[in-house]
Amino acid sequence: MTELQTALLELIRRTSAEIPDDVHRALLAAGANEQQGSIAANAMQIIDQNIALAKNKSQPICQDTGSVLFYVDCPVGYDQITFAEAAREAVRQATRKGYLRQNSVDSLTGKNDGTNVGPGAPALHFQQQRAPEVNVRLLLKGGGCENVGAQYSLPHTALGANRDLAGCRKVILDAVLQAQGKGCGPGILGVCIGGDRATGYEYSKQQLLRRLDDRNPVPELDALEQDIVQTANALGIGPMGFGGRTTLLGAKIGAVNRLPASFFVSISYMCWAYRRQGVTLNEAGGIARWLY
């Protein structure tokens, strides 16, 4: 294996087995906040035990090791084709080693060839940057939480949601209500206001690359993020939908331009098993440092 393949394999292993520190802190705080002895508190305890066990055994936090989503920031002239080949090989290796479940199915035939490599799998997103370094971020996003994602087109008559921030708030909270515990809460929302149907979902997922404890530099969006979390946590949905005090650990909201005719709000729900890691590569393709 090349140094780059080895680095990407290690990135996959660690992403699958270890929860990032910012998420772990939020989960511990949420667990402490639940009423002791409640089924919600007991669920949070099992979650905490699970995090420790996965890390110690170097095995997947969750058996649904999810869609494998790479986000690569690279300088001009970087060889993206070689990177893509290395990423596919690392995914094959990670699957053989059990860091990833055999999780990729041919949509027409239903066949699972057990490699996790195929059309669109893994998904690779490249972005050029002026800086000389290569940053690779990885999300492993399971199907349970992906299935409760939602896209709303405003105005939304049934929800009384107009084309303004108040309307955005209504549909985002509706998505939380509809998700209940099915997305393995307490969850984290990535939201995009605007864009077309495809870029809206795309940007909503990119919001999940932000640290949980960051603050949005746009004041209106920052206020909306805080409000969504506070309101969602007053609904009593709780961990796993068992009822309880923490429904969301965070909400990350971005906005991109839209057409005059379109106003989409796209919501990606991330489960508590928030598998997100990243590395900066050194010149040889090895890991220089971890990003989260």
Partner: protein, 191 residues
């Protein structure tokens, strides 16, 4: 904590109520999307598999085959159950299932079948694949591996003290319905 041991009798299951926390021990069979569609369409269970007085676990585990041919379970949390809602009631009825383990809860059809035939829905903690895999002491067998692939196959597992919460009981109560109605009313006050 209530101990629930194989074989899972109708009386034991009907004694359970929403909110009860249970520890399950004995044989359970996994089955998810492909298996549910197959059984619903009348497909026979393979020889050696019986769900009568048994538990069906909505789970697609990570399994690694060892050099001696046995299987090691590396991760085994529940998958989202609501996808099986169109099929679950009939499968409970036709196969005498006493418990369904999964996550996220199920709908009115399954709830009615639980009441009529004596079955409960047991909610495991989603994502807790390592804690739950540690409760699997042995992988006894696998069926439909070629046909459906590893996550979708029927895995026969020996479990000990597998933790779950009764969220739908055999008396027509569903925690999921109650939490939805409560949270819907709370949200309405905040819009």
């Amino acid at each position: 904590m209530i101990k629930l041991n194989f074989p899972f009798t109708e009386a034991a299951v009907r004694a359970l109520k929403v909110g009860d926390e249970v520890l399950i021990s004995g044989v359970v069979f996994t089955g998810r999307d492909a298996v549910h569609k197959y059984l619903y369409e009348g497909g026979p269970l393979p020889p050696g598999v019986s769900l009568r007085d048994g538990i069906l676990y909505h789970c697609g585990p990570v399994m690694l085959q060892q050099a001696d041919g046995t299987w090691q379970c590396n991760a085994a949390g529940p998958t989202t159950s609501i996808r099986e809602e169109p099929y679950q009631g009939r499968i409970i009825r036709d196969h005498g299932v006493r418990g369904v383990i999964g996550k996220g809860g199920m709908g009115e059809g399954t709830l009615a079948a639980c009441q009529e035939h004596g079955c409960v829905y047991l909610h495991a903690v989603g994502g807790a694949a390592q804690v739950l895999a540690a409760c699997i002491r042995r992988v006894r067998n696998v069926y439909f591996l070629e046909q459906f692939g590893a996550p979708e196959a029927i895995w026969e597992l020996d479990v000990v003290d597998f933790p779950a919460v009764v969220t739908m009981d055999a008396h027509g109560r569903s925690l999921h319905r109650e939490v939805f109605q409560h949270s819907q009313a709370e949200l309405a006050r905040r819009l």
